[in-house]
Symmetry: C2
Subunit: 181 residues, 2 copies
C-alpha cells in the first residue's frame, strides 16, 4: 500500500515481480506460513501488522483462512506483465486479502478486481491458465529463490541488494536512490 508513494517521492522506479512463496517455503522445510508454524511468533506477527496498519491508517483484517492459495492471482499478474492494469492489480490482491477480508483463492474475487480495473477479465483468466504463463511464473519463482529471496515482500535494487519486509521498504528505496546517484 505504501510502495508507490515512497518510491515516487524518491524518484525511484518500481517493477512488480510476482512469484510463489509456496516452493520457497517448501525449500525451507515449511508446508504452510511460518505465522502458523511458530505459535508465539505467529501471534506476535499478526499483532505487529495490526499495530503498523493502525499507525499508518491502512485498513487491516486478518485473513481467514491463512494462507490462501495465491496461484491464480500470481498467474493473472504474470499474464498482465507490461499491461496498464498490472501494478494496480498486484496492489489490489494484497488490499482485498489483508484489508477487506476477501479470498484471493476465489476466482470470482480475482475477476472482480480485473473488472474494477477495466481489464478484459475473461481473456486474461484464459491466458493465465496457459502453459506459457505457468512456465513463466515457475521461472520467476526460481529466479526469486536464486536471488536469495525467502519471504515477501522483498525488494531487490538494480545492484542486487536484497531487502525484506515492509519495515525495510524505506531502506531499499534509499539504497536504490543512492546507487543511482
Amino acid at each position: 500500500m505504501r510502495v508507490d508513494a515512497v518510491a515516487d517521492s524518491a524518484d525511484v522506479g518500481i517493477r512488480y515481480r510476482p512469484f510463489l512463496l509456496g516452493p520457497i517455503f517448501k525449500a525451507q522445510g515449511w508446508d504452510t506460513s511460518p505465522f502458523n508454524i511458530y505459535e508465539s511468533k505467529g501471534r506476535y506477527m499478526w499483532r505487529d501488522l495490526e499495530r503498523i496498519c493502525a499507525d499508518l491508517a491502512i485498513p487491516f483484517r486478518r485473513p481467514d483462512p491463512f494462507p490462501q492459495n495465491s496461484l491464480l492471482a500470481a498467474r493473472v499478474a504474470m499474464a498482465g506483465t507490461g499491461e496498464g492494469w498490472h501494478d494496480a492489480f498486484c496492489r489490489a490482491v494484497f488490499r482485498v486479502q489483508f484489508g477487506e477480508g476477501r479470498r484471493i483463492d476465489d476466482a470470482s474475487v480475482i475477476e472482480d478486481i480485473l473488472n474494477e480495473l477495466g481489464a478484459p477479465a475473461r481473456d486474461i483468466l484464459e491466458l493465465a491458465g496457459s502453459d506459457h504463463v505457468k512456465l513463466k511464473l515457475r521461472a520467476e519463482t526460481e529466479q526469486a529463490s536464486a536471488r536469495g529471496i525467502f519471504g515477501a515482500p522483498s525488494f531487490v535494487t538494480p545492484d542486487g541488494e536484497l531487502f525484506w519486509g515492509h519495515d525495510r521498504l524505506d531502506a531499499a528505496i534509499a539504497w536504490a536512490k543512492r546507487r543511482a546517484g
Copy 2:
C-alpha cells in the same frame, strides 16, 4: 547500543531482564539459531545487521562461532540485578560479541568486562554459580516465554505490549510513552 539514548530522549525508563534464548528456541523446535537453520534467511539477516550498523555507525563484527553459549553472561547479569554495573554489563556483553569479535562463552572475557566496570569480578562469578541465581534465571526465562517472547531483543511495555527486534525499539518506546501519558 541504542536503547538508552532512545529511552532517555522519550523520558521512558528501561529495566534490562536477562533470559536464555536456548529453551525458547527449543520450544519452537530449533536446536541452534534460526540464522543457522534457514540458509537464505540467515545470510540475509547478517547482511541486514551489517547495513543497519553501518548506517548507525555502530561497530559490527559477525561473531564466530555463532551462536555462543550465553549461560554464564546471563547468570552474571542475573547476579547483578539492582547493582550499579548491571545495565552497562548487559550492553557490554552485546558489544564485545557483536562489535569486537570476542567470545562471551569465555569466562575470562566476562571477567574482563566486570573488571572494566569496576565490579568485584571474583565475588560476582561465585554468586553467578549459585543455585539461587540459576533458579532465578530459569524463572525469568519461563516468564519471558509466558509473555510470548520468542526472540531477542524483545521489549515489553508496562501494559504488556510486546515488541521484537531492534527495528521495533522506537515503536516500543513510543507506545510506553503514550500509555504513560
